[in-house]
Symmetry: C2
Subunit: 543 residues, 2 copies
């Protein structure tokens, strides 16, 4: 049987910075396969996620909606039952939406029970999996916890002869020191150790092969598919199998993007984040030098695996019929701005790689180009819907299709800014800042030059990326920038007041209504007498 | 069997103005039974609905959430599946939530099908009925339409010998002229005719008896209940059975609250509404004189019926164990401000009667008082939850329990304003104003003195009810009031940015999380080495 006529391969890395690719200009890291992908499509160098942390970023990607709309504000916050997903939209078009890897989806158990849903039905499983058919669901982090579901990857390792109480942790994510002693891969000190399993059996190659398994099986099924291949790496534990653990070294580590000025009188929220353990640790050069080479090695391993995958697509005759997207759920400070992890809104955290290869002839004109149009992660869902021939339901989906950009437009018509949000209630900074659970919100609005961060309870932050591309100078309380802050806050109000819950009534049905249909339905509202009705019926063409 | 230990009787009229009650000071209309109810409880004279039109106002009442949260922006916009309702919250407390009359709920057929729900199951029925057990569902307007479900009231009339192709319309809502000829009750000209069925069989008495039927049957069931008795009157068709059609006359009609100044250079949205048919008609004194006496008669009839109902509750021994609420879903301009119908935000449209009788001893101190605390319709749901002994889920419900006010507090702590919203996309004014379907929003924020109306695409409106209680002077572009507009717009931004979708994660679970639980779960994030972990485990009390 032949492969279906069109497909989408939606590849996501976790915690991959936008600037850690060859084609993005990294001075030392070479990613020839990802670069080759970019050469076949468009590389977007101003793509922003809708929350710079795994859970809500992904829920936004998978719904095409902002965090304030989907409500899964942080990791493991269940996505509310009834929230329409990409899988729901593609199902209407006869397309399968399939998962290999991580989503960070937590099922709304209470909501599903409230609606009496059968958890074992096809719909029940897909609802619990955020709209995906879970070919292989693996969120990538598997510490030993009583009752926690073990991943299939554990059993795979055992079948390969790698046995341990917790194979994922004890072997795949532990390193061996010079004496062969097992070292905990969670700890930054051990980032330079080779993992205790060989490359071939580590997570990235394993998941890549699972994707290929699905693609082969899909041939027999015959339906078009959207496959989400979602790697955990280069997200911590920062540990890589040989040779990747040693492929890069201290001399390949790029200087941190940080200034002493940032630590002088910082915004209170920023200051609280700088005081976190991971920030203080990544502010140490020795720790950066220990970890970043491994971070680079993990990306190199991904690039090698994507080489295999793209060759496989060629062999299967799929390259000309498969849209390929390569992106990330957020970045990684790695000590820049005196921070670790992600969460806040500097470029290295909130901006992500975004490569889109559309094999259609309409996209030929832009192959190999770089677009600086402002793009949001939520733009992918409508892009996929349109790619499969659907109409984007604009009363549900808040992102916008990238098709015009793929066809050569310089920007999306009318897009003046991008928005990202954060909820810090689950972090200890909530306590240090003395905030209640519902008082921990941050909102970024970026117009391509000015990045305004609204922080309820505090003054705003403001950066001018034109004069200060490194985002060292917070202009949030600088009187000279009052006008910019006012403008951006006004735009934030407009965004905040835009409807996002009216998901059951399409615009077209609203536009079709009026006094004529109302009268036709027998609702005679506000008419004085029979003559007035008769005249109206005539005017509305009802007789 | 005895009646359950506590109940709520949640009475709602449709389109009843706050000032059309004896206890609210109407110069001519006497409502002794409603007045007596107020004398037993608290009458709130600053209660505001969350959208001044049936559908979204009710969806807000029945969810305890703002319109921007529930998304059922206008009449017949389905309430999205998964949106938690009062019925869901009370079910957890073992309380039945039962309907007699109107809700204006439209089921989210598509959403329920998407989730594979069985429409005939108990959950399916209740979800389709907005969380209510539909003892008798009747939305009160039944023009003849192919395929439209006929109400049980039609069959009741037929059983009483009142037969017609459409008994509701042809008999209950048609009048007889002097020659006995049937006159269409939809038409304002016929408001003064007696309806073609007697008082006893008209809608208000019928629905009152159905409520009593339920209450009797509930005795055998034994569970506590929240009964929503939801009358269609005095909403149009403005037609009443004898003697109510003639109980009031032109001389009882109060002067319209309107000034010539309002028609001079009005705000564009207000001006568009003034041009609507129903507004132009109600701007005619002769039409007001024809309709308003009947409007008053319908309210008088409701008051008489509530007299029967309250006596029945006494006879059943329920008075001391039943919280009683009397309110409305919005008002009726009746020509005030040169407008008809509702929709906009003048007091006579957005403010509603609100009487709450809590039989508990804790509420004894406030019996017979009037509270000027700012109250929202969405405050009722949490009030009921607390009345039945539950804890209000503050991550879901946006209203606040009125219990402190019933116990004597002068205001709800920290409540600075009330909010109401409107979506005019379904009205013809959308076309006359040249707006798209998603550009038709209005937002009212009222702090008890200043009423600010934010109208995207237009300048705001602003009224100072302290110096201009009739709301004749729109200060929306008056330079002297820039500071007030700025302040209220800032509050509107705060309201707009408040989380309202995070409905799956209670605050308490967030507050319980932190670096200790994270480490205990095996997530070792940002630690350099074993010593650092060991110290942290000690600090967090994990060893």
């Amino acid at each position: 049987m032949a492969h279906a006529p069109k497909n989408v391969l939606f590849i996501m890395c976790d915690q991959l910075r936008f600037d850690y690719l060859g084609c993005a200009g990294h001075a030392r890291l070479e990613t020839p396969n990802i670069d080759a992908l970019a050469a076949r499509g468009v590389r977007f160098d101003r793509a922003y996620v809708q929350s710079p942390v795994c859970g809500p970023s992904r829920m936004s990607y998978y719904t095409g909606r902002y965090m304030r709309s989907h409500g899964a504000n942080w990791n493991n916050f269940p996505l509310r039952v009834g929230e329409p997903t990409l899988g729901d939209h593609l199902k209407k078009l006869g397309v399968r939406t399939v998962l290999v890897g991580k989503t960070h989806m937590t099922a709304d158990d209470e909501g599903m029970a409230r609606l009496g849903m059968d958890r074992d039905s096809v719909i029940g499983v897909q609802t619990a999996e955020c709209g995906f058919e879970p070919y292989e669901r693996d969120d990538g982090l598997h510490p030993s916890r009583p009752g926690a579901k073990r991943p299939a990857y554990d059993r795979y390792l055992e079948q390969q002869g790698f046995e341990a109480p917790n194979p994922w942790e004890d072997l795949a994510n532990s390193g061996a020191d010079a004496d062969g002693e097992k070292q905990n891969g969670w700890l930054l000190a051990h980032a330079d150790k080779p993992a205790l399993i060989p490359d071939e059996h580590s997570e990235t190659p394993y998941m890549t092969r699972r994707a290929m398994d699905f693609i082969r099986e899909a041939k027999d099924d015959g339906r078009p598919w959207c496959l989400h291949l979602s790697y955990i790496k280069p997200h911590w534990p920062y540990i890589a199998p040989a040779p990747y653990h040693a492929m890069y070294s201290e001399s390949d580590v790029q200087p941190a993007i940080r200034s002493d000025g940032e630590r002088q009188n910082p915004h209170p929220v920023y200051g609280a984040f700088m005081d976190m353990r991971v920030s203080r640790n990544f502010s140490r050069e020795d720790i950066r030098h220990r970890v970043i080479p491994t971070y680079m090695g993990l990306i190199k391993q991904i690039d090698d695996q994507l080489g295999h995958l793209f060759r496989f697509l060629d062999e299967e005759g799929l390259t000309d019929k498969t849209m390929i997207v390569f992106t990330s759920d957020h970045g990684d400070y790695l000590g820049d701005h005196w921070l670790g992890e992600k969460d806040l809104f500097h470029e290295v955290s909130v901006k992500v790689p975004m490569i889109v290869v559309d094999p259609s002839p309409e996209a030929d004109a832009t192959r190999g180009t770089v677009s600086s149009a402002l793009v949001e992660g939520i733009d992918l869902a409508p892009t996929f819907i349109e790619y499969f021939g659907g109409t984007v339901p604009r009363h549900i989906i808040e992102g916008r299709s990238l098709a015009p950009l793929l066809r050569g437009a310089p920007a999306l018509d009318g897009r003046k800014f991008v928005v990202s949000e954060y909820d810090y209630s689950m972090l200890d900074v909530r306590r240090t800042l003395g905030r209640k659970a519902d008082e921990c919100r941050l909102f970024m609005i970026f117009d391509g030059r000015f990045k305004y961060i609204h922080a309820p309870g505090f003054r705003p932050m403001l950066f001018d990326l034109s004069t200060d591309p490194n985002e060292y100078r917070d202009l949030g309380d600088d009187p000279d920038f009052e006008a910019e802050r006012t403008r951006l806050k006004e735009w934030l109000l407009g965004w905040a007041l835009t409807d996002h819950s009216r998901i059951t009534m399409p615009d077209a049905r609203i536009e079709g209504y009026g006094p004529g249909p109302q009268l036709k339905n027998g609702f005679v509202i506000g008419y004085w007498d029979e003559d007035e009705v008769a005249k109206a019926r005539k005017d509305y063409g009802l007789d």
